[in-house]
């Protein structure tokens, strides 16, 4: 486990014992990435705030369930937030526009959750995506970054439903084989 993640794991252990101070620090340290992801997926600031709130309520109640098989603490956190975003998208299909998210700030500084492991993971994913058939890659990216359903992908790409389903499935299969090499 990366050193940078150790602090977050210790914080989670304290949160699991009801340490509110640790929870406040954990929120301060991690919420920006979760909120940025929620904004990107939901394109709605109020809804992203609601999902962020639900995410950390869940963290408070389930901090003790984290373990390293889940990946880094950040991966665990982002997964909780992502599934809540997907739930919100299911309830409200793509209403907001990309441009409604304003005043974004990108962080170019090295944060405590960046580490060598993350860098190598990112390079590996980039490498595999680059080699992926463009149709597969586009389908996966649109599903992951916008929460598109199979049906929405079919409409967006002007292809039969079975075709886009097949692209997603084959693309993920090829991606896994590449990531595992």
């Amino acid at each position: 486990m990366a050193k940078a993640d150790d602090g977050l794991v210790r914080a989670l252990a304290r949160i699991a014992q009801g340490d509110r101070q640790a929870f406040a620090g954990f929120y301060q340290k991690t919420h920006r990435a979760v909120f940025g992801m929620c904004l990107h997926l939901l394109r709605d600031r109020d809804e992203a705030c609601d999902v962020l709130q639900e995410t950390y309520i869940q963290v408070w109640h389930h901090a003790g369930e984290y373990h390293c098989d889940r990946g880094s603490v950040q991966t665990w956190m982002m997964s909780i937030g992502r599934y809540r975003c997907l739930d919100a998208l299911r309830r409200r299909r793509h209403e907001a526009d990309y441009d409604s998210v304003s005043d974004r700030q990108e962080s170019n500084t090295l944060g405590p959750m960046d580490n060598v492991g993350n860098l190598l993971d990112r390079q590996r994913l980039n490498h595999c995506l680059k080699d992926l058939d463009e149709r597969y890659r586009s389908s996966i990216e649109m599903a992951y970054f916008r929460g598109f359903t199979h049906q929405e992908l079919a409409v967006a790409m002007g292809e039969p439903l079975g075709t886009t389903k097949s692209w997603i499935r084959r693309g993920l299969d090829v991606l896994r084989r590449c990531l595992d090499t």
Partner: protein
């Protein structure tokens, strides 16, 4: 579902994480995760592998009201701990500094593979319908795929793609394809630098063949921003 079909389970786990596993199938899969450690591990595999997607997204500070609401919901009868945040932040600052130094030390000692950068942007309509998918890579290639709903503009006008540098006038890149067609082009070194700095693109409607002045003359109808993977 056949619980013992490893490959099929992996495919379902992947679609669960990506989000395309829907409705009853998604709920069935979640129940299955509760009883099968193996299926849970397959989901965690995909969560870990696709986490770099999340790391490519810009971070944003949430409004203070979110934390206040969390505290009110979890600890309604007690005082907030916010007043002592500075202590926590100080501790974090020290631990962060040490962690960052550790990362730098590791970076110095770890031979890095060649960095492959990849950028993606989706140009969308007001109704959030995807119109063009833009992919740019660090080796100067830019490709734009028009989604089938994009039809040629009225009056024979063309959609023209512009790079919006951080300062200075827009830079013409190409006339955009429509109706499912795909465009691939090479950028100059300077265009790559400017695109990596601003990551901003705009699309205007221009007379057939493109702007006669080298600058946008028609309305800017869409904008997008590339995110780095």
């Amino acid at each position: 579902m056949k619980p013992d079909n490893y490959e099929r389970n992996h495919a379902l786990a992947a679609e669960y994480v990506v989000g395309t596993l829907q409705g009853a199938a998604r709920r069935r899969f979640e129940r299955w995760m509760m009883v099968s450690a193996r299926v849970r591990r397959q989901v965690w595999y995909w969560e870990r592998r696709l986490q770099p997607f999340n790391e490519s997204l810009p971070e944003e500070v949430a409004p203070r009201a979110v934390w206040n609401s969390i505290e009110q919901r979890l600890f309604p009868a007690t005082a907030p701990v916010a007043a002592r945040w500075w202590q926590t932040l100080t501790a974090w600052r020290w631990s962060t500094g040490i962690a960052v130094l550790g990362v730098f030390a590791l970076l110095l000692w770890t031979p890095s593979p060649p960095v492959v950068t990849h950028y993606v942007g989706v140009v969308q309509s007001q109704q959030a319908e995807p119109l063009w998918l833009v992919n740019a890579s660090g080796d100067q290639r830019l490709s734009v795929k028009a989604m089938p709903p994009v039809q040629p503009a009225d009056d024979g006008r063309d959609y023209q793609l512009w790079l919006l540098p951080e300062s200075g006038a827009p830079i013409s890149l190409a006339l955009l394809p429509t109706g499912g067609a795909r465009l691939q082009m090479n950028l100059s070194d300077q265009q790559v630098r400017q695109l990596l700095q601003s990551r901003s693109l705009a699309i205007s409607l221009e007379p057939a063949g493109g702007s006669p002045t080298g600058q946008p003359t028609g309305p800017v109808v869409y904008q997008t921003r590339l995110v780095q993977l």
